[in-house]
Symmetry: C2
Subunit: 304 residues, 2 copies
């Protein structure tokens, strides 16, 4: 029905804090009758008395106490909103607040996002990194504009978001020079006793790699499981084991991690999805990101 009259609520809030209608009227610069009347309207709409008579003053009822807790937060947020908007930088630089799911390779995310900044020089990136669920929650509260992840958002969820498939990246195995030299000959069967680093079972990629191993009849020695792919590559660089990564990133992996490709994981690919809020008015940079979707993304990323 009628949502909630915030003007009435504001009167209630001031009265509750001032402790009396008279004082509240003084502070608000209106007559006491006005407040009294508007308060009864609010009470009628809520179907509960907010105050009870006590002596010649009033006291909060149980419902009033409950309401006051919410009202406190509401008007605190209202003040914060004004402050945030007024104080928001005057430069009209576009901010793109992106959440990056723990699982996906940072270099891939960087490649995708940097394309947006390249197309429009006036975009400022703000990156957050966390778990899938947390990111979705932030998205729902508009603390983020887009979430990059390896799987689409659950369809039946209570959150109104929608997913765009940004691309598919063929995957291979990488290792430092020593391990690469040892295991590249005879790939993939040479992996039978190879030390392997894998993402944890939370990640879609993990299952795909395990299935690939079964198909190829190898049962490698999993020496490490990582929630965070950056950590995994760091350990891989140190020589702990062989690790999977998108083949498109071979050049950067060689340069930054000093690691070489050993072989391709046929049929195993890293999916990247962009999840954004389901509203017609979308962030221009998110628009750009999603539109750039399935057209030649691998090549573009590789060329970063």
């Amino acid at each position: 029905m009628t949502p909630l009259n915030f003007k009435h609520l504001h009167y209630f809030w001031v009265v509750a804090h001032e402790g009396s209608i008279t004082r509240a009227a003084g502070r608000l610069g209106v007559a006491v009758q006005t407040i009294s009347g508007q308060l009864s309207l609010l009470e009628r709409q809520l179907g509960k008395a907010l105050f009870t008579s006590q002596g010649r003053g009033l006291a909060l009822s149980e419902a009033g106490r409950a309401a006051l807790g919410y009202a406190d937060r509401i008007f605190e947020l209202g003040d914060a909103l004004v402050e945030a908007v007024r104080g928001s930088d005057n430069d009209n630089a576009l901010r793109l607040r992106a959440g990056i799911s723990d699982g996906i390779p940072k270099l891939l995310a960087y490649g995708l996002l940097s394309r947006v900044t390249a197309m429009n020089g006036n975009v400022r990136l703000i990156c957050d990194e966390s778990e899938f669920e947390d990111l979705l929650a932030d998205l729902a509260l508009h603390r983020l504009d887009v979430v990059l992840t390896d799987r689409p958002a659950p369809v039946g969820g209570n959150l109104k978001v929608f997913s765009t498939h940004l691309g598919e990246f063929a995957t291979g195995l990488f290792a430092n020079a020593e391990l690469a030299a040892r295991y590249r000959p005879g790939f993939p069967h040479s992996l039978a006793d190879a030390p392997l680093l894998l993402p944890t079972r939370h990640h879609a990629l993990r299952h795909h790699i395990e299935r690939w191993c079964e198909r190829n009849g190898v049962r490698p020695n999993v020496v490490g499981e990582f929630e965070d792919s950056a950590l995994m590559t760091t350990f891989g660089r140190g020589g702990l084991g062989i690790f999977p990564a998108p083949l498109a990133l071979a050049g950067q992996i060689a340069a930054q991690l000093d690691a070489q490709p050993i072989g391709a994981l046929d049929g195993v690919s890293e999916q990247i999805y962009a999840i954004s809020n389901e509203r017609r008015i979308r962030h221009p940079a998110v628009e750009l990101l999603c539109a750039s979707g399935s057209a030649g993304e691998a090549a573009a990323v590789a060329g970063v």
Copy 2:
């Protein structure tokens, strides 16, 4: 100045989610001119454009994106308020939401609070237990009505609360039968090698006890430090060591913990403060609690 027009904000919110003024007008059942006009008023008040023209529609500006995040939460809270108030129990039983600081003995808190329920049979207690700082924050947001703690609230703080001294409880040392038999003779000098359980240094009581030890020339063996006094008494009951507790609770300690007093800690007392929100309209039960303050509280508590 004028706080913030929530009606305007509501229009903004619907427009942002619907994606266009036309759709929003349809959903709200008002004319498009109305929304357009009120939106410009809001923008003028905030001093920033919330939307920018994009094609023949509109897009959120940077300031608009910031505002939308707040608006989402505000109207979510508004709905929650209505639901909470409408659904709040019809019984007009008074709820007293009390926060109990980790440090103070639960039995003391129980004694003080149960007096309130005894005086007014229609009070329902809701107890929370946490750290001092967290409790103060909950108090400020009206999630709690009163906080029981062992020290007054800091005066210079940014929170508008005030403290009432509820009472002072003389303290003694307790132990199970075996330890009591061994250390009671020659008290306090017998404590020289006694195993002692103490609250951690966060608690005011800790300092008082240490000073008492110095005054009496004993340096006991501190075998345990506890953040939570209930945990301390549990270990004391098991025989780990001697523990301090209010003398007024001797009866209950004997019954529930099977422990006996060894001796009094002269000059060491447990202070109890009630901290409540500084507003004229106070919770009736809090009123009762604070009023019962310094009059014969020890006897009353002991008699519970």
